[in-house]
Amino acid sequence: MEDSKIIELYEERSEKAIIETQGKYGRMILNLCSRILKNRPDSEECENDTYLGCWNSIPPQKPLSFKAYILKIARNLAIKRYEYIHADKRDIDKCIPYDELNNFISNQVDIDELLSENQIIESLNLFLRNLPDESRKVFMLRYWHFLSVKEIMSECKMSKSKVESMLFRTRKKLKDFLEERSFYGE
């Protein structure tokens, strides 16, 4: 079923909307949550919460890209759960890309003091827009979709060193970019 039809089902408050969403995007959502949480029961719970989030927000929301919309809900929920689990060290498994990016940035610059959340998102969009296509893909696969380096090698048909090198350089670019905007921003 086309995404626009699924959105119509949500607007009509038809429960078939959830069945269709699960049929079309269920594996994708579960896959994304599993990459963050490394835990099947928590991931399945996040998947279910994603459908609920969709149900509660459409309407009034009418997403232009339903696929991106639902993945964003799933990602947010999985990250919240990840933070909850790790706040009390309830689990020793780490989500490497999540920690890699946050540790990297937070060690370098205190962006909170200088930029609002919206400003940071705008900056991230600008940063991604200016990245070469290949670098953007590798960066997003690692830090948005949480793929391992090995999976990125297979996905992009690149050597390990190439993937790691590209990630290293893009992280450095992001650090410089955010620092620059923090120092010279409003």
């Binding site: 079309k24 995007y25 594996r27 994708m28 896959n31 994304l32 997403p63 232009l64 890209s65 696929k67 991106a68 919309y69 993945l71 964003k72 990602r75 947010n76 990250i79 890309p97 999540y98 990016l101 946050n102 940035i105 937070s106 962006i111 909170d112 930029l115 609002s116 959340e117 940071i120 998102i121 991230l124 969009n125 991604l128 070469p132 296509d133 290949e134 670098s135 953007r136 893909k137 997003m140 696969l141 830090y143 948005w144 979709h145 793929l147 999976e151 297979s154 996905e155 690149m158 050597s159 390990k160 060193s161 190439k162 790691e164 090198s165 590209m166 290293f168 350089r169 450095k172 992001l174």
Partner: protein, 344 residues
């Protein structure tokens, strides 16, 4: 605010999310392949391949191809140091403009001993308008301050004996080429900044004019990472009469042989290390840097399939007609030292 980059990344524009969804996951979701869609992809792919092939064969078409990020792919089979750079290199895409000339560092790869950089040089004015003289079409030289910096140290880079960039003019305004830099056989640090300050680029003219210089200031500072995991280090440590082959480092692009010898020749004149391989006719070595008691010899990786034979000779005993003219048998008869290396 508890901002956190990984979390905030969730909210970036939809396009960046959907365009990067891993294909593997898409395949899992859409298990039933749509034949119509597949044939459309096949037709589109064929069109892209055809346009690239035509572009490579036809310079008029080629001038419209986007080279940034794909220079190695375009040129790697055409240069002396051929190799599969594109598989290992990462895109940089940093550009600087000065005096109507834009220089872009397109891609790079550091194998731990050598740093390979792909450049694009685009001039507002066609290159042939700078000089009426016939300049070299496969090379552009430049004058630059090249060094790496790390942990507060600076080390100058060596251009490995090749003058400037090896490549080609893809149209009247654009040259693409490759530069190989090294630390004279020393290893690159794991992480470093590459610093390049170019003062002029030079169209190479026949002697005695030598070159035509286009002046400007093109400066780059690029964070780099050395990747040695695709390299193999073989400690040979074979010695005969104080001549030794110490080590061989095999990277995807280059084989580097480290050797030592007694300081009996007062320099490098009479020492030679000759390399024969299972697929290359004649001496496979392309470069060597030899000081009084030690040296390195470079062999392009593509010239060796799985077996490399190294001969150390005192060329004063053999060199009457030029070492390249001697057969493997003749070289072996004069060898002070010989070893065979099996590449995995």
């Amino acid at each position: 605010m508890e901002s956190n980059i990984a979390k905030l990344l969730t909210e970036v524009d939809d396009i960046y999310v959907t365009e990067t969804i891993p294909q593997k996951i898409c395949d899992e979701v859409y298990q039933r392949r749509n034949l119509h869609a597949f044939s459309k992809i096949a037709v589109a792919s064929l069109a892209i391949i055809l346009s690239l092939l035509i572009g490579m064969a036809n310079p008029v078409w080629a001038q419209n191809l986007p080279f940034i990020g794909k220079i190695f792919e375009f040129i790697q089979e055409k240069i002396d140091f051929s190799g599969i750079y594109s598989y290992y290199a990462t895109e940089i895409g940093e550009a600087t403009i000065s005096n109507g000339v834009k220089i872009t560092l397109s891609e790079c790869y550091c194998d731990g001993l050598n740093l390979y950089i792909a450049y694009e040089i685009v001039s507002d004015k066609p290159f042939e308008e700078y000089t009426e003289k016939d300049y070299m079409k496969k090379q552009i030289d430049y004058s630059a301050n090249l060094y790496i910096s790390f942990e507060g140290k600076k080390i100058a880079l060596d251009d490995t004996g090749v003058s400037g960039l090896e490549g080609e003019f893809v149209n009247k305004n654009t040259f693409i080429g490759v530069e190989t830099l090294s630390l004279n056989g020393k290893a690159f640090p794991e992480k470093f900044d590459l610093n390049i300050l170019i003062n002029n680029i030079q169209l190479l003219l026949p002697y005695p004019d030598n070159e035509f210089e286009i002046h400007g200031t093109w400066e780059f500072e690029i964070p780099m990472e050395s990747n040695t995991e695709d390299c193999q280090v073989l400690d040979v440590e074979l010695e005969v009469e104080k001549h030794s082959i110490d080590r061989v480092v095999i990277s995807p692009i280059m084989i580097t042989v480290y050797s030592s010898y007694p300081d009996i020749y007062s320099g490098t004149v009479d020492y030679d290390l000759v390399a024969f391989s299972d697929i290359w006719e004649g001496n496979a070595a392309i470069q060597g840097i030899y000081d009084a008691t030690s040296g390195i010899t470079r062999i392009p990786r593509y010239r060796v399939k799985s077996q490399l034979e190294l001969y150390v000779i005192d060329s004063s005993t053999i060199d009457a007609i030029g070492i390249e003219r001697y057969s493997r048998k003749e070289i072996s008869e004069h060898a002070i030292l010989y070893t065979k290396i099996d590449l995995q």
